[in-house]
C-alpha cells in the first residue's frame, strides 16, 4: 500500500523536477523513486492488510506481482535515453511522471478488492499509456497509434464497465468476496443470467488489455507505432498487471462458474496462440514480431489462468518475470540497433538491421540471443521454466480438459523458435557493414543484469519459486 501512495507522490515530485534547468537529474531521481517504492512494497511481506473499507487488499501475492511490475519499470526507465531527436519538444519529466502514475494504476489492478478499484486502476493505466504512445508528437506513426489505441481502448472500457454494471445488477455488490459468495453460495432462484453476460463482458474487456485474440488487433499497430521504450513498458507491465487482475477476479469472485469461463478461456487461448505465433512468422520488422510475440505469450499465460490450480499464481508469476525480463532485453537491443542507421528518418527495425551484430557488438548480440532463446522457451533460460510451470498447471488440471490446449501450445512453441531465431541468425551468421554501437555504462549494466537474470533463473528457478 505504501508503494501506491509513495509512487503517486513521487510522480508529482517528478513533475516539479521538470522545472529544473538540467534534465540530468531526472533519470537517477526516477530510478531512486522506483527503488524506494520497491523497498516500501517489501515492508508488508507476510502481512495481510485491507484498506479503505475493503477497497484494496495487500498480501504476499500482491507483493510478488507488484515487485515484478516495479522491477520491470525500473529496468525500462533505466534504458530510457533521449526521447526522440527533437530535444525541444520532449518532456522527460512528464513521461517519467506518467510512467509512475501508470504503475500506480497497475498496482491497483493487482490489489483490488472491489470492482470499482479494478476499473479505476485499469483506467489510470490505460490513459497513461494512451499519452505515452503518442509521446513522439512529431511522428505520424506515434500519433496514429495513440489515436487507435484510445479509440479501441475506450470501446473496450465501455464494454468492461457495462459488464461491471450487469454483475452489480445481478449480485448487488462491487465487492469481490460478496460477488464470490453470491456465485458459489447460489441464491435460491438460481444465478441470474445477467451475471453470465456481465462476466463475459468483463472478460472481453480484460482480454483486450492483455491482447488476447480476437481482441488483439490493436496490439501490433500500437506497439509498432509507439516509441520503442514505451512499447517495452506496455508489453510487460500491462501484461503482468492484466493477468494478476484477471486471475484474482476469476478465482475470488467467479470460482463458482468455472465451467463457464474455463471454456471461454480455452477457446481464446487456442485462438491467441495460433494467431500470435503464426502471424509473427511473416513479419519483416523485429518490433512487429515482438508485438505478435507479446500476443502469443498472452496465450501461454492464459493457460495457467484457465487451468486454475493451486500452482497457477506461482506459474503466472514466474512466467511474467521471465517474459518481462527477456522482452525488455529484446527491446533494449532493438532500440540501439534500430537507431544506428535510420531509414528516411525512421529507426530501421527490420531483421536486416541486426546483420553482423555479433561481430561489432558481442554483448548486444549475446544478450539478444539469450532473451530470444528465453522467449522461445529453451532450457537453461528462465523462459523454459516459465513454460514448464505453465504447462504443468494444465497437466494438473487434466488432459481431458486441457489436452487440446497443450498440444496447440507445444506446437506453437516450435513455431516460436522459428521467428525468434531469425534475429539470432541475423546477428550471428549474417554479415553486416555497420560500425560498433556505443553503449552507456548504465545501459550496458542493465543488459548484463537482465541477461544474467535470464540465465540465472534458468539454472536455479527455485531461488524465486520459493517466494511465489
Amino acid at each position: 500500500m505504501l508503494s501506491i501512495i509513495s509512487l503517486s507522490l513521487f510522480g508529482i515530485l517528478n513533475l516539479f523536477l521538470g522545472f529544473l534547468k538540467s534534465r540530468r537529474v531526472l533519470l537517477p531521481a526516477t530510478l531512486l523513486f522506483i527503488a524506494l517504492a520497491f523497498a516500501a512494497n517489501l515492508l508488508d511481506w507476510n502481512h495481510q492488510y485491507v484498506y479503505f473499507r475493503d477497497m484494496l487488499r495487500t498480501n504476499n501475492l500482491f507483493i510478488n506481482f507488484s515487485s515484478i511490475i516495479l522491477l520491470t519499470t525500473f529496468l525500462t526507465v533505466a534504458i530510457s535515453r533521449s526521447f526522440g531527436t527533437d530535444e525541444e519538444h520532449t518532456h522527460p519529466a512528464e513521461y517519467y511522471a506518467i510512467m509512475l502514475f501508470s504503475v500506480v494504476g497497475a498496482l491497483m489492478m493487482v490489489g483490488f478488492e472491489n470492482l470499482i478499484m479494478l476499473f479505476i486502476g485499469l483506467e489510470i493505466l490505460s490513459v497513461s499509456l494512451y499519452v505515452l504512445t503518442g509521446s513522439d508528437k512529431r511522428s505520424l506513426r506515434s500519433n496514429e497509434a495513440a489515436l487507435k489505441y484510445f479509440l479501441m481502448g475506450s470501446f473496450a472500457t465501455g464494454i468492461f464497465l457495462f459488464g461491471i454494471a450487469l454483475v452489480y445488477g445481478a449480485t448487488g455488490s462491487f465487492n469481490l468476496s460478496a460477488i464470490g459468495s453470491y456465485v458459489s453460495g447460489g441464491p435460491t432462484t438460481g444465478i441470474s443470467p445477467l451475471l453470465y453476460v456481465g462476466l463475459l463482458f468483463i472478460l472481453a474487456g480484460m482480454l483486450f488489455k492483455v491482447s488476447a485474440a480476437p481482441f488483439h488487433f490493436w496490439t501490433p499497430d500500437v506497439y509498432d507505432g509507439a516509441p520503442t521504450l514505451f512499447t517495452a513498458f506496455m508489453s510487460t507491465v500491462v501484461k503482468t498487471a492484466g493477468f494478476a487482475a484477471l486471475y484474482r477476479l476469476l478465482t475470488v469472485s467467479f470460482t463458482g462458474v468455472y465451467g463457464l469461463w474455463w471454456q471461454v478461456l480455452t477457446g481464446v487461448t487456442v485462438l491467441t496462440l495460433l494467431v500470435g505465433n503464426i502471424t509473427a512468422v511473416y513479419q519483416s520488422s523485429v518490433k512487429r514480431m515482438l508485438a505478435y510475440s507479446s500476443v502469443s505469450h498472452a496465450g501461454y499465460l492464459l493457460i495457467a489462468v484457465a487451468a486454475k490450480t493451486p500452482q497457477s499464481p506461482s506459474a503466472i508469476l514466474f512466467y511474467s518475470l521471465a517474459y518481462s525480463i527477456a522482452t525488455i532485453t529484446g527491446f533494449a537491443v532493438l532500440i540501439l540497433v534500430a537507431e544506428q542507421k535510420p531509414i528516411e528518418g525512421r529507426p530501421d527495425e527490420r531483421y536486416e538491421a541486426f546483420n553482423g551484430l555479433a561481430k561489432r557488438n558481442p554483448l548486444l548480440a549475446f544478450s539478444l540471443a539469450v532473451s530470444m532463446v528465453s522467449l522461445a522457451g529453451i532450457p537453461l533460460t528462465a523462459g523454459f521454466w516459465g513454460k514448464f510451470f505453465v504447462f504443468s498447471t494444465a497437466v494438473d488440471r487434466g488432459m481431458t480438459n486441457m489436452g487440446m490446449v497443450l498440444v496447440v501450445a507445444v506446437l506453437m512453441s516450435v513455431v516460436g523458435v522459428y521467428y525468434y531465431f531469425r534475429v539470432i541468425i541475423a546477428s550471428y551468421l549474417k554479415t553486416g557493414d555497420s560500425e560498433p554501437i556505443g553503449i552507456r555504462p548504465l545501459y550496458r549494466f542493465i543488459l548484463v543484469l537482465t541477461t544474467a537474470l535470464t540465465i540465472g533463473l534458468g539454472l536455479f528457478p527455485d531461488v524465486v519459486r520459493q517466494l511465489f
Partner: protein
C-alpha cells in the same frame, strides 16, 4: 573443511588457476602451482593414511540430485581401497608433475599442459573416492576426457588427433556398458551407493542372473578403460601424447580404473562365477596378445604401451581367479615400475631429440647413466626377477592362477617369459651396443636435468623395494598389504567362501612355483642377451619382416579388421541415412511444415488491415460469438 574434501579440491584449484590464466602466468609459477597442488594433495592423503583407524567412512559433501525416489549424494568414501589408490595417484602423480616441469620446459603449451594434468588428477581422485557408482562415473568420464585432451595435446599433428579420437570412441563403447550396468543396479537395488548395493547383494545367491549381467556390463566398461580385448587398440595409439602423460595416464593410473572398479565391486563379482571366468580368460588373452606384439615393435613407447596392455591383462587374470589383493598389489607395483619405464623412455627421447625408434639408438648407458640405471631397475622389476617389486606381485597372481587352472597358469608363465624377453631386448638395444643414430643426435646426447632424474630415482627406489609391502608368508613376510585390504573382501568371503579358498599349498610347491617363474624370466633375459648383445642383431627395417613376424609387427591386423567390420559399415550406413532418409524424408517433411506455416502466416497477416473500424467490428463479432457460444444453453432454453 574436511581434509578429505581438500584432496580432490586442490588439483581442481590448480586446474582453474592454470586453465584460466595459462596465457598470463609465467612458466615457473605454472609449474609450481601444478606440481604444488598435487604434492599438497599427496600430503593430505598421507596424513589420512597414517591416521586411518581401519573404519571405512562416507563423507557427504552435498545432496546432488533428488528426483522422485532417486537420491544421489555427492559423497566420498574413505576406506582401505580408496586410500591405496589415492596414495598411488597423488604419489606417482606428484613425481610425474615434477618430471613434467623439466620435460615440457620448451613447450609452448606449458600452462595448458599442467592445467590438463591437474584436471586429470582431480577426476581420477573423484573416481576412486566417490561413494557411489555415479560419482565413480563422473571421474570415469572425466579421466576419459583428460586422456583425450592430452593424447591430442600436440593437436597440430592430425595423426595425434586421430589417436585421441580413437581413445575417446573406444572408451565410449566401454562407457555404454558401464552405464547400462549402473541402470541395472539402480533398478534392482534402488540405489547406487556402494554400501547399500553391497549390503543388499550380500543376501543374493551366487549365480544370480541379474548380478551376472551387471558384472558383465561393468566389465565391458573396464575393457574400454583398462584396454582389454577387444577394446585395447586405443592404448598403443595413445602414445601420441607427451611422455609424462603416457606415464601418468596410460600406465600408472587411469588404465587401472577398471581394476579399481572391479575390486570395489568384488562382492558382485564373487557372486558371478561365470563373469569371473570370462574376466580371467580375457585378461590372459590380453596379456599374451600384448606381450607377443611387444616382441617386434621398434618404437620405444609402443613397446611400453603393449607391455602395459599385457600387464593389465595380468591384473584382470588375477581378478578372474578372485585374487583381488594380488591384483591391487600388482596395480601398485606396476604403477611404480611402468611410470619409471615411461619416464625413463621420456628421458631417452628427450636426449635423442625426439627420436623414438630404438633401431636408431644404442650404447646410451654412457651418456645417460642415471636414466640407464633406473631403467635397468624398472626392467628387472617388470621382468619379475626378485627381489624387485614386479616379482612379488606377479608371482602372487600366478600362484592364485595355478590354484585355479593349470592351463591358465602355463600360458601366464609363458607370457612372463615373453615379457622378460621384450623388455631386455628394449634395454639392450637402447643402452648397449654402438650408437646407431645420426651424428647430430650423438652430439646432443645429454643426461636430463634434475627435475627429471629425481622422479626417476624415486620411482626406481619404489620399484626396487615396492615388493616388500606384501611379502608372502613363505618368504617370511607379513603380507602387510593383504592384511590391510582384507576387510574389503570380508563380505564377499562370507557369501562364497569357496572362491577364496586356497587349498593349502605346501610351502615347497609355492617355492617351486616361484623358482619356476624366475627361471622362465631368466630364460627370456638370456635369449635377449644372446640375440642382441652377443650377435648384435638389430631389428630389420620397415617392410622387411616375414611371415609371423610381419603379422605380429602389424599387430595381427586388428586395426584393419575393426576398420573393415565396424568403421566402414557404419560409415556406409551413415551415408545412407544422410542421403536417403535425411534428404528425402526428414528434410521434405520439415520443410513442408515450415512452408505450410509460412503460407498460413501470409494469410493471417492480411487480417491486420490497419483500419480501426474493422478491428472494432472484429471485437464485436468476437464478443457476440463468446456470448452465443457460452450462453447457448440459456438462449436455446
Amino acid at each position: 573443511m574436511s581434509l578429505l574434501l581438500l584432496i580432490p579440491l586442490l588439483p581442481l584449484i590448480g586446474f582453474l588457476i592454470n586453465g584460466i590464466g595459462f596465457r598470463k602466468i609465467p612458466k615457473t609459477l605454472v609449474g609450481l602451482i601444478g606440481a604444488g597442488t598435487v604434492v599438497a594433495s599427496f600430503a593430505c592423503v598421507l596424513f589420512l593414511f597414517l591416521n586411518f583407524d581401519g573404519q571405512p567412512r562416507v563423507e557427504k559433501v552435498y545432496d546432488w540430485i533428488t528426483v522422485g525416489n532417486l537420491n544421489l549424494s555427492f559423497s566420498f568414501q574413505l576406506d582401505q581401497l580408496s586410500l591405496l589408490f589415492m596414495l598411488i595417484i597423488t604419489g606417482v602423480g606428484s613425481l610425474i608433475h615434477l618430471y613434467s616441469i623439466g620435460y615440457m620446459k620448451h613447450d609452448e603449451g606449458f600452462g595448458k599442459f599442467f592445467a590438463f594434468l591437474n584436471l586429470f588428477i582431480f577426476f581420477m581422485l573423484l573416481l576412486v573416492m566417490g561413494s557411489n557408482y555415479v560419482i565413480l562415473f563422473i571421474g570415469w568420464e572425466g579421466v576419459g576426457l583428460c586422456s583425450y585432451l592430452l593424447i591430442g595435446f600436440w593437436n597440430k599433428n592430425a595423426n595425434y588427433g586421430d589417436a585421441a579420437r580413437k581413445a575417446f570412441i573406444m572408451n565410449r563403447i566401454g562407457d555404454l556398458g558401464y552405464l547400462l550396468a549402473v541402470f541395472l543396479i539402480l533398478t534392482n537395488f534402488g540405489s547406487v551407493e556402494f554400501t547399500d548395493v553391497f549390503r543388499q547383494a550380500a543376501g543374493l545367491k551366487a549365480g544370480n542372473s541379474t548380478i551376472l549381467w551387471i558384472t558383465l556390463l561393468l566389465f565391458v566398461g573396464a575393457m574400454g578403460k583398462s584396454a582389454q580385448i577387444p577394446l585395447y587398440t586405443w592404448l598403443p595409439d595413445a602414445m601420441a601424447g607427451p611422455t609424462p602423460v603416457s606415464a601418468l595416464i596410460h600406465a600408472a593410473t587411469m588404465v587401472t580404473a577398471g581394476i579399481y572398479m572391479i575390486v570395489r565391486s568384488n562382492l558382485l563379482y564373487t557372486l558371478a562365477p561365470v563373469t569371473l571366468e570370462v574376466v580371467g580368460w580375457i585378461g590372459l588373452a590380453t596379456a599374451l596378445l600384448g606381450a607377443s606384439i611387444g616382441l617386434f615393435q621398434n618404437d620405444i613407447k609402443k613397446i611400453l604401451a603393449y607391455s602395459t596392455v599385457s600387464q593389465l591383462g595380468y591384473m584382470f587374470m588375477g581378478l578372474g581367479v578372485a585374487a583381488y589383493t594380488p591384483a591391487a598389489f600388482h596395480v601398485m607395483t606396476h604403477a611404480f615400475f611402468k611410470a619409471l619405464l615411461f619416464l625413463g623412455a621420456g628421458s631417452v627421447i628427450h636426449a635423442m631429440s625426439n627420436e623414438q625408434d630404438i633401431r636408431n639408438m644404442g650404447g646410451l648407458r654412457k651418456a645417460l647413466p642415471i636414466t640407464f640405471l633406473t631403467f635397468l631397475i624398472g626392467t628387472i622389476a617388470i621382468a619379475g626377477i626378485p627381489p624387485f617389486a614386479g616379482f612379488f606381485s606377479k608371482d602372487e597372481i600366478l600362484l592364485h592362477v595355478f590354484e585355479h587352472n593349470k592351463l591358465m597358469w602355463g600360458i601366464g608363465v609363458f607370457t612372463s617369459m615373453l615379457t622378460s624377453f621384450y623388455m631386455f631386448r628394449l634395454l639392450f638395444l637402447v643402452f648397449f651396443g654402438n650408437f646407431r643414430g645420426t651424428h647430430e643426435q650423438q652430439h646432443h646426447l645429454h643426461e636430463s636435468p634434475l627435475t627429471m632424474t629425481l622422479p626417476l630415482m624415486a620411482l626406481a627406489l619404489l620399484s626396487a623395494i615396492g615388493g616388500f609391502f606384501n611379502v608372502p608368508e613363505v618368504l617370511g613376510g607379513g603380507a602387510k598389504l593383504a592384511n590391510f585390504l582384507a576387510p574389503l573382501f570380508a563380505a564377499a568371503q562370507n557369501v562364497r567362501p569357496e572362491a577364496f579358498a586356497m587349498a593349502e599349498l605346501s610351502h615347497s610347491t609355492e617355492l617351486a612355483l616361484m623358482i619356476g617363474s624366475v627361471a622362465v624370466a631368466m630364460i627370456g633375459l638370456a635369449a635377449a642377451y644372446v640375440i642382441f648383445i652377443s650377435r648384435k642383431t638389430v631389428p630389420v627395417g620397415e617392410g622387411q619382416e616375414h611371415g609371423l613376424q610381419k603379422v605380429i609387427y602389424h599387430k595381427y591386423y586388428v586395426d584393419e579388421l575393426y576398420d573393415a567390420v565396424f568403421v566402414r559399415p557404419v560409415n556406409a550406413l551413415s551415408v545412407f541415412f544422410h542421403q536417403v532418409i535425411d534428404f528425402l524424408l526428414i528434410d521434405l517433411l520439415v520443410e513442408g511444415v515450415g512452408k505450410f506455416v509460412k503460407g498460413l502466416s501470409k494469410e493471417f497477416r492480411l487480417a491486420q488491415t490497419g483500419a480501426t473500424g474493422f478491428y472494432i467490428f472484429a471485437m464485436v463479432i468476437g464478443i457476440a460469438a463468446l456470448l452465443a457460444w457460452s450462453l447457448r444453453g440459456l438462449i436455446l432454453g
